[in-house]
């Protein structure tokens, strides 16, 4: 057996330190060792995007990366979206707009959408479709997913505007 390697990562804000075999894929590290089973294994061949997580702010397919490569990095999984018992606007959007049916692709869809909204706060329909082009959904036909992401974008924009409006009111 190959020599184990120490992996130090921050996952959803929490420091983790584990010795792993180099061949351990990041998705197995997340699901089986950290017991964060929100990220799914879909195709296991880098096509479907169900395993998408953020590594240092960028989306990656965690089935196509070794855990040792993430050493020293910050990982965000779908479990990191909810804050203080409040759903993230994206989660709320998927709920309100029926952005899922079976839900298997949803964790990956959420993470790709999250990354999209980080650098494009007001995405057009085409921007959303392009942003989630690495994620497959076999139920919804994508229509409601696109609506859900734009719902979240609107909600986040309104939330940001509120303080300014309060100032105007003064």
């Amino acid at each position: 057996m190959a020599k184990k390697q120490l992996v130090r990562v921050k996952v959803n804000g929490r420091d983790r330190e584990v010795e792993v075999e180099p061949r351990l894929l990041l998705i197995h590290f997340i699901r089986e060792i950290l017991q964060l089973t929100g990220s799914h294994i879909g195709c296991d061949t880098s096509h479907c995007g169900a395993c998408t997580v953020l590594l240092n702010g960028k989306t990656v397919k965690s089935c196509t990366m070794f855990a040792v490569q993430a050493d020293g990095g910050e990982i965000m999984t779908v479990e990191g979206l909810m804050k203080d018992g409040q759903l993230h606007p994206l989660q709320e959007g998927f709920k309100e707009e029926h952005g899922l049916q079976c839900g298997f692709c949803t964790p990956g869809m959420l993470m790709s959408s999250y990354a999209l909204l980080q650098h494009n706060a007001k995405p057009s329909e085409e921007d959303v479709r392009w942003g989630i082009s690495g994620n497959l959904c076999r139920c919804t036909g994508y229509q409601n997913i696109v609506r859900a992401v734009r719902f979240a974008a609107n909600k986040m924009a309104t939330a940001e505007k509120k303080p300014e409006m309060a100032e105007v009111a003064k």
Binding site: A2, E21, S46, T59, V60, T64, F66, Q69
Partner: protein, 289 residues
């Protein structure tokens, strides 16, 4: 799918990486973006005993113009190429190409250098680099050597890189005024390899005659193809419909596609002809701007 076991090595400098590659010879593979290598390891098509992870080597991620070349660092990700203001304003053929490689997640990790060094004729950058007349910088124990892109692709999955060499930079001659290029790819869905694709780059003189033309073809032969006869047919001519049509036919003649799930060989030849027309027309428009 679990890949076979391997020893993981993470050098922090190029000399250190080269030393490790020399030490382990054919048992070692370079791990860069890993977006082709890891799937192959999961399928157990590739079984390296040692992985030399070059991702922590500093200073290899850049896109810049310097000394008459556009220089792309050996660790530059596809997503970085796509986001580069220089590429977005001046190298639209590269933007066309990066945009249709795999999907956003894969482009966050996959490197331009890896797309070339993998030696897969289905990859997209080889055709574009052939059209642009790029040079490959390979760094080994004896220093750097420069390989013209025409000499880089040897056979299926084999390039001119030697054991113990790392592709550290790609150099593209800065195109003169009145230059333009484009990449056209037909894929069955986002993330698929090309059924066929064509890259075209042209430079015109002041009166609109072709000074230089470069045409590269994707996934229609055992290696990426430089359509030399098609390129030569354009020299000294204006890019009118009949001239483009003739070059497109010569490009189709240069292709050697095989029939597979993506379509029969005849269909792919026809596709090369049509995509070459579109790529040359777009290149001409961009050169005229």
């Amino acid at each position: 799918m679990i890949p076979p076991p391997f020893e993981y090595l993470r050098p922090s400098t190029i000399p250190e990486a080269i030393k490790l590659l020399q030490q382990h010879g054919d048992d070692a593979k370079i791990l860069s973006g890993g977006q082709s290598l890891i799937p192959m390891m999961k399928l157990r098509i590739a079984r390296p005993a040692y992985l030399v992870d070059i991702n922590r080597i500093a200073g290899l991620s850049y896109v810049k113009e310097d000394g008459g070349f556009l220089k792309i660092g050996g660790l530059t990700r596809e997503a970085e190429l796509e986001a580069s203001p220089l590429v977005r304003s001046k190298y639209l053929i590269l933007l066309d190409t990066a945009h249709v490689i795999a999907d956003p997640q894969v482009r966050n990790l996959a490197t331009v250098a890896g797309n070339l060094a993998h030696g897969d004729p289905a990859n997209d950058h080889p055709a574009t680099m052939l059209a642009l007349g790029a040079q490959i910088v390979a760094t080994g124990a004896r220093g750097e050597r420069v390989i013209p892109i025409e000499d880089f692709f040897v056979t299926l999955f084999t390039t001119a890189l030697q054991q113990g060499e790392i592709l550290t930079e790609i150099r593209i001659p800065v195109p003169p005024a009145h230059s333009g290029g484009a990449y056209f790819k037909l894929e069955r869905k986002v993330g698929d390899f090309a059924t066929a694709a064509v890259a075209a780059q042209v430079t015109l003189d002041g009166s609109g005659n072709v000074l230089r033309a470069g045409i590269g073809l994707t996934n229609v032969g055992p290696i990426p193809i430089k359509a030399k006869a098609a390129e030569d047919s354009l020299k000294g001519k204006k890019l009118e419909t009949a001239v483009i049509a003739q070059a497109a036919q010569l490009a189709a003649d240069a292709s050697q596609p095989s029939s597979d799930l993506r379509g029969p060989a005849d269909y792919k030849k026809g596709l090369v002809r049509e995509l070459a027309k579109r790529a040359l027309s777009r290149a001409a428009e961009r050169a005229a701007k």
